[in-house]
Structures are given as structure tokens and as C-alpha cells.
């Protein structure tokens, strides 16, 4: 690892100034569970590491019905899964926060870091995408709001411009009669990376048998986590049933063309997306019925 400078500002403004002043390569540090591994193994040349954990806005978790949930970019998983409003309203977020790495990792790893790292297998990205999250970004030019499905653009590459940082992620309040779930498959029960993952949120009508809206995100089967709009379309307006979910699962399988790597083959991934989509939708629907 090359030597680099380290700063720990306490405001967003200080951070933006630091980023714009530094001529060399700057990287932001949240929990460091991706960054430190990458610095150690990839011989990346970095001149300045800016630790953003000391900035209050980046550590908050706020919820009100009107503006929804705001997760500070550096808030660790453990803070997220202990938050009462998240526990009450966003089950898919809890699912993701409790499976990333293991207990020790969850004490450091943030959803903001997961998102900015833009890995195809980012579990938090899949969960947040299914819930229609918006990314709040600040740079020297001002503020931007980026829909989460536009945030990751390639493996390890996000939509941030030079000098921009992620402040928080905003997730709309759940609609009535809605439920969400995030489910992934790993050979090992913890400390492992998804071979495939599915996030789903489902809104039912007041009779609880017709699907009003659906968002499905697929993880680790494309260069970035992706929104499966064809799957959502196949569900909207339909009555919930085993065969409907089965059909949706088959559509999910057909929309992807995953790769083979050391974690799994393309055909295994395709198969798993089918199984996981069905199981994930089933639980999201059950949760929608339960909350009402």
C-alpha cells in the first residue's frame, strides 16, 4: 500500500473544499470494508483519504411519513437494523443490513459505501433499488438527486462527478398494503458475496389480492444491480397466485444474461434468479398482507 494523507472533516463543506483543493487522487472513506481491501490489493495510487464518518449528516437515520426514510451515507448496517422506524416500515432494508458480511462487518459497513462501491453484487443496492431510493449528492456545483437505478453505471463505477459526494439515500414511505423483501444466495451462510440476489417490493389493493405496483431488482447477474421492469409489468394489475409468481420468476430468468466467474456459472445464476424471484415475491406479498 502506498502512503497517503488522511483527513477527517466534520462538515460537508469542508469535505467538498478538500476534494476540490487536492490535485491528486482523493477517495472517501466510510466503513472502509471495501476501500481498505481495495487499497491493499490493487496498488491503487491514492493521495488523500477523507474519512466522512465524523460528519453528522452522514450518520443520521431519519424517518417521517412525508419525506420517508433518510439514511446517512456513512451510517453502518448495525445502526440501520437497530433503528425502530426501519424495523417497522422497511423489511427489505433490514434483510440487507443483516446479511452483509457478518456481525463485525455490519458494525462498519455503510449503505452509502455499498452503493458508491457499485459492485454488481451489492446487497444494499438491490434492497434500496426495489424500494425506489433516491441518492442525494452534493458537489461544488450544488446538489443533485439521482434515482438509484441510474447511480451505478459499471462494475465499480458510479455516476458521481469528480468532487461530488453522496450525502444520503432517501426512500419513500411505504404505501398502504405494501411489503418488501431482499433475498440472496451464497454457498456460505455469512461472510460471502451473493451468487445472485433479488429485492422486491409489492403494493396490493385494499382487498389484498391484486398487485397495484411492484419493483424488482436483480443482483449479481449484470454489470450492476438492475431494475427488472418486465417482471414488474407482468405483475401489475394481476391477482396474486402461485402461478403468477412462477411466471414472473420465469420472466426474470429470461431478462438476464449473467456471466460465469469463480462464484458461480451463468446457468446457475439464471436458475437461481428464478428460484429467488419466486421466493422473494412470495414473502413480499405475505408481508404486504401482514402489515395491513
Amino acid at each position: 500500500m502506498k502512503t497517503f494523507d488522511y483527513e477527517a472533516p466534520v462538515t460537508i463543506d469542508q469535505t467538498i473544499t478538500l476534494m476540490s483543493k487536492t490535485r491528486g487522487k482523493t477517495l472517501l472513506l466510510a466503513g472502509g470494508t471495501d476501500l481498505l481491501v481495495q487499497l491493499r490489493y490493487s496498488n491503487q495510487d491514492v493521495d488523500l483519504v477523507i474519512d466522512v464518518k465524523g460528519i453528522p449528516e452522514l450518520n443520521q437515520i431519519n424517518y417521517d411519513e412525508f419525506s420517508g426514510l433518510v439514511i446517512g451515507a456513512a451510517a453502518p448496517c448495525s445502526q440501520i437494523y437497530e433503528s425502530a422506524p426501519v424495523l417497522e416500515n422497511f423489511p427489505a432494508i433490514i434483510d440487507a443490513a443483516t446479511i452483509i458480511g457478518g456481525k463485525a462487518i455490519q458494525n462498519r459497513a455503510s449503505f452509502g459505501g455499498n452503493l458508491c462501491n457499485a459492485s454488481p453484487s451489492g446487497d444494499a443496492i438491490g434492497a434500496m433499488m426495489s424500494l425506489g431510493a433516491i441518492c442525494n449528492v452534493v458537489g461544488s456545483e450544488g446538489v443533485r438527486n439521482i434515482p438509484i437505478e441510474d447511480f451505478c453505471i459499471a462494475p465499480g463505477k458510479n455516476a458521481l462527478e469528480k468532487g461530488e459526494m453522496l450525502i444520503s439515500i432517501q426512500i419513500p414511505s411505504p404505501r398502504p398494503n405494501s411489503g418488501s423483501h431482499y433475498l440472496r444466495f451464497t454457498p456460505r451462510a455469512e461472510m460471502d458475496i451473493a451468487v445472485a440476489g433479488v429485492g422486491a417490493s409489492i403494493e396490493l389493493d385494499s382487498d389484498l389480492n391484486k398487485i397495484l405496483s411492484a419493483r424488482i431488482a436483480l443482483v449479481a447477474v449484470a454489470p450492476t444491480p438492475v431494475l427488472a421492469t418486465e417482471v414488474s409489468e407482468s405483475l401489475v394489475g394481476q391477482k396474486t397466485s402461485g402461478s403468477l409468481l412462477e411466471k414472473a420468476a420465469n420472466i426474470a430468468k429470461e431478462t438476464i444474461s449473467p456471466i460465469t466467474d469463480v462464484r458461480g456459472s451463468a446457468s446457475q445464476r439464471k436458475h437461481l434468479i428464478g428460484v429467488l424471484t419466486r421466493r422473494c415475491l412470495d414473502i413480499a406479498v405475505k408481508r404486504a398482507v401482514q402489515v395491513s
Binding site: 454457498p187 456460505r188 436458475h271
Partner: protein, 734 residues
Amino acid sequence: MTSKIGVDVSRIDALDKVTGKALFPADLMSSDMLHMKILFAGRPHARVRSIDVGKAESCPGVIAILTASDVPVNEYGLINCDQPVLVGPGSNKKGADTARFVGDQIALVVAETEEAAIKARDDILVDWVDLPVITDPYEAMKPDAPMLFESRDSNIIKHNKIRAGDVEGAWKNCEVIVESIYHTPWQEHAYLQPEAGISYIDSDGRITVEVAGQWVHEEQKQIAHALGLTVDQVRVIHPAIGGAFGGREDVSVQIVLALASWHLHERGISRPVKIVWSREESILGHHKRHPYNIHAKWGAASDGSILAAEVKMVADAGAYEYTSAKVLGNATLQSTGPYDIPNVSVDAYAVYTNNVPSGAFRGFGGPQGAFAAESQVNKLADKLGIDVVEMRRRNLISDGSIGQFKSVYPEGVTIRQVVEECADRSNWPITQVDNSLPSNIRKGYGFACALKNVGFSFGFPEECWAKVELHGGSEIERVVLHHAGAECGQGAHTVFVQMTAEACGVPIECIQLEAADSALTKNSGSASASRLTFMAGNSIRGAVDLALENWQSEERPAIGEYKFVPRQTTALDTETGECDPNITYGYVAQRVIVEVDIETGHIRVVDVMSVDDVGRAINPIQVAGQIEGAVVQAHGYTLLENLVSRDGYIETAQFSNYLIPTSLDVPERVEAVILEYSDPQGPWGLRGVAEMPFLPYAPALIAAVHDATGIWFDEFPLIPERVLRGIDHSVYGE
């Protein structure tokens, strides 16, 4: 006097280890120490034409760069000195200029800091000539295959043969014949503590290496050989050892550390040298469990009696011999299991390839052989419609049995007892059906058993030394035990102390242990082959008896020094395999319950029962720990650990892609049942335990998966993808 054995005494090293006081090799520091890094070959088969260290030597902070020409006797090996200490031109060893696997060591860089050593290492220029790479042992066996060693006319290291009875004549009497080809994987030891050590010249002028190993005197011998010194000029000390499992049976950093210190000493530099391998260096740099291909054809009569077994197996030994010939012996023995089979033919080969060397690993060829043997028995039972326990009853050995080696099994054969106990306690045969399971989950039950030798096999010399000093006046007040046996984390030193206290009739607190230093002890053999408690116990008893005699004749301190030599085993006859293979055995049976998710291929192990006859449990909770630990390690072997090697390059050299089980993956429950049928040769009747619970796990689990899914898996690890492919070919368009 209450007994000191058979009780759960706390580990004598526990407090130091949990408080961090115990120092492992990587913790050893000295204010003026230098740091060493190794340049590894990074190529599976290539000749070094030249090495240019000019640029590297001029890097700031570099003290020394050593290459092949700096090694006095450029060869080493536990059994056969076939590996160069450093690969490159200019040494006295023919063929030492050729790297035969990616982890061969090319150059040592000693520098003021680790960073400086890394920088200089990366500036060393090596002129390579790539050579043809052979990674398939079957290709390597062919007469026209390129030779890994110019001096040899075959890549076959060893061929073991057994010819007992008339296999060809027996087939016609068989009601059923089962023929299968099994494949077992590599396994990485994955000990907590990667290779590390520190070396210096001690006050008596000896090159001293403090390092984690399994056998101080063997390490001392190998260092002395490579440096052209006498053993008295070399000292090896084991500080706390962070796990070994056979992975430290062959040396890693011992010789290179000594070489660096010797070189500095000759230049008048008296500063210690330290090295710590990264996890990746550890995975690339030390040997693995042997992969085996086993072709087994077994036949049985309609009443279940097994009439014939024909086995052909090939072990991938990798680039150097290590313990391959010995591991092969054990696999040869295990390949027909603890069964009385009148007609046996085995051909077993260990073959050089350009893969990572294979060597010792808990079970030492046993798990591979037992997987094939137990699966064959389970399949025969299945075909005959005979319950698997009943099938075993009809074929297991007992006292007086003469096996395929045409020698009587050592007295104290208890395989029938462990099988009955395991069947009894698990209410075998299990007929109840679990209706509470979701439709994608299938439950299954599996059974297997095994024997495991205690002590070195097939004529390998065995001995174990101990010295005891009794201090005091009219009463024994203090006892000093000198013993070289390694405490690898298994609890050996605690049972040494217990056995000494028991033999002397004094409280445990009176015992002081002087261990793990070649300068203070004589040869006790290695911490391997499930031998240490058995051998150490016998040597301690012998030494205490002598010391007590001297105590009676008023000697103060009364000293007893004793070398235990067990009964001699013999090597396999080259044509028939006839021999007396082992000193004695331990016996084990296991029942495994699994739940298989047939949609994802994920296997959950719900419950394991392991019934182990250990003769006498000196420390029952430690024995239970060994059983649980072996099951967990075998669980990783069977389900998760998938070492991927392509064209000689290891693609899974990190724990993020070589997956070992976490606490959430291991069996939900392991019931360790300890049986105590005395072994006539064992001190207090004990046998060894460390390896045997590993052996039946893979075949028992795979039988349970068959019970759940109807599919036999002849290859593992059962990673979900393999299971899925087996259950549902359509997923893969097959």
C-alpha cells in the same frame, strides 16, 4: 489420591492464549530485527536462466539478497530431498534451476523494513524459460510424458500393490458388483496463523529459528542438511503454534530463515531476521491435502458378504514428494476399509505434477480412501436391499482378523463396538418421515465408519523421548518434564502434564514442562499420525518409572530418561503388499442428518453423531473438542472448500474465494460419544483421536444426501452448483 487422568483439566496454555500473553511466531519482535521477503516463482514450470539482483540491491534499506548460489546444499525434503531451497542457477544441486510449481522460492530479500524488502523483491529480474506444464497425473504417468526431474525416468513417485486372494475368480460369485470412479479435492489447512518466524544466533553460537512447526528435531535436521552444518549447530524452538493439521509437517520458512541468519553472521551482522507470510503466500506456499482419483470395483454375495474389492487410485502429489509416499500407504490401506474381504487387489500411485505439492493433512490419505470404501459399502447395501449397518455387521473386522496385508490386526479391534453404539444411539435404521418440511427440502440420513492408525506406518522408524526430574526431600515437591512434542493447539501439553502427574502421583500444579526446544530435549517425533498422546504417554511412563527407581535410591533430584520404541511395523511387499502396517488403531462410526434444498443445491447438516473409541480419554473435554473440530474441518472439506487450480495456477488464494465454514455453516449439533475400550499397547489403554473423526464424515454425509435425493455424488466438495447439477440436469441444459 484422585486421578489426574480422565478429568477435564483446563488447558495449561489457556490463560496465556486468551489474554494475549502467549507469543506466536508473528508476534516475536526484537528492536534491531531485519525483515525478509521471498520472491516466489509464480510460474508452474520454468527454468531460471539468470537472476539479476543489481537493481534490487541498490534499493534503499536492502541488507542482503540471497539466491540459489548462496545455499550450501541446495536441497531439502522430509523423506526425499527433491526440492531446492532456492530455485536458480549456480548451486551444487542438479536440476535446482527449475521451478516446478508456482510456490517455489527464488530469492530472499533481507531489508530494514518489510516495505523495503517488498520493493526490492519486485525489482529482481528473472530470466525464465517456460517448460511444458503437466497438471493431470494421468498424463504425467505416461511413459512419454515430460519428466519433472531430469534425473528420473518416470513421474511416478511410488506404486503400492496389494494382491490377496483371487479377485478375477471372485466376480462370478458376486450377486452385485458396484463400480465407481471417485474424485476427492485438494484441501488447504487454513490454520489461523500463517507461516512466520524469527532467526538469530544464540549465546552458544547456534543458528536458532523460532517458528511454528510440528517436529523440532526434524526441522533442525533439515536446516543442518541444507546449510552443511551439524545438527548441534542448529536450534529450533516452537513458540505458540497457531494450528498445524499436518500443514507444518514439511518445512516452510525454517531453512530460509536459518540461511539468512547464517549469511548475515558470516558478514559480521548480528541482527535477527523475521518473516511473516501473508495469507496468500501461505496458501500458495505450503502443501495441500492430496486429490485422489479412485476407481473402485467391489462385489458382494446375496447375503451381503463382500467377496472382492479391486481398487486403482492415483494421487496428485504435485511438484515435490513431501510425505506423498507415506500418505499413499495409508490411502492404500483405507481404500478397502475396516472390512474382511477375501479377495483384494489394489494399485495405488503417487505422481509428480506441476501442481502445488500435496502432503500431510489430518487423516493422511485416510479420508480419501475411506470415502471410496464407505461409499462402495453403502452402494452395495443399497443394491442388495440390506440396511447399511447390517451390511457392516456382515463384513467388519474383529480381533484376530487377518486383513489384506496378511497380518493379524493389532489386538483391541473395536470397529463393531463403535458401529453398534452409533446405530443404537441414533435408533438406526431410521424410518420416521418428517412431514413438517417445506416442499423444496429433502431430509436424509447417512452412516459410515472407519479405522485410523495411531503412529507412523509401514516401517517408518518410531520413537519418543522423555526426561523427568523429581525434586524434593522426603516428598516429591516438583517435577520437571522435558518433552519435545509440539503443542499445535490440540492440547498435547496439557495431557503431557496430566499423564506425568498421574504417573508420579502428585498434583498437576507440581509439574513444570520444558518443551518445544531442540536444545533442551531429544527426539519425540512429530505431532502427527494421531500418535502424540500415545507415544508421549508411553515415554512419560517409562521416564517416570526410572525416575521413581532413582528416587527410591535417594537420588535428588531423581532423574529418569527414557526412549519409547513401539513394536516395529514393516513396509509393503512390492508385489503382494504383505506387511504389518501399523502399531495400532482407533475406531469411529458416524451418523449424519442432512436437509437438501433441491432448488438451490444448498445442504444443511442438522445433526452429527460421532462415536469414537479412544481407549482412554485423558482429558474428555479435549477429546470432544478434537471430535467436533475434526467434524467441522471435514464439513468444510465435504461441502465448501473448493481450491481452484488452473494450469498450475491457484485461483483461490484468499479466504474470500477459498471458503471455509463459519459458525453459521457448521453442523447444528455434533454429539461426541467417547468410548473407552483399552488398547493393550496404549499408556493407560489410550489410542489416538485427532484424525479418526475426520474419516467417515464425507461418506456419511454423501450417503445422507443420497438418502435425501436418490443421487450418489462420487465427487466433492458438494458446493451448491454441483448438487444442483446432480439433482436437476435441466438447469444446465444437459
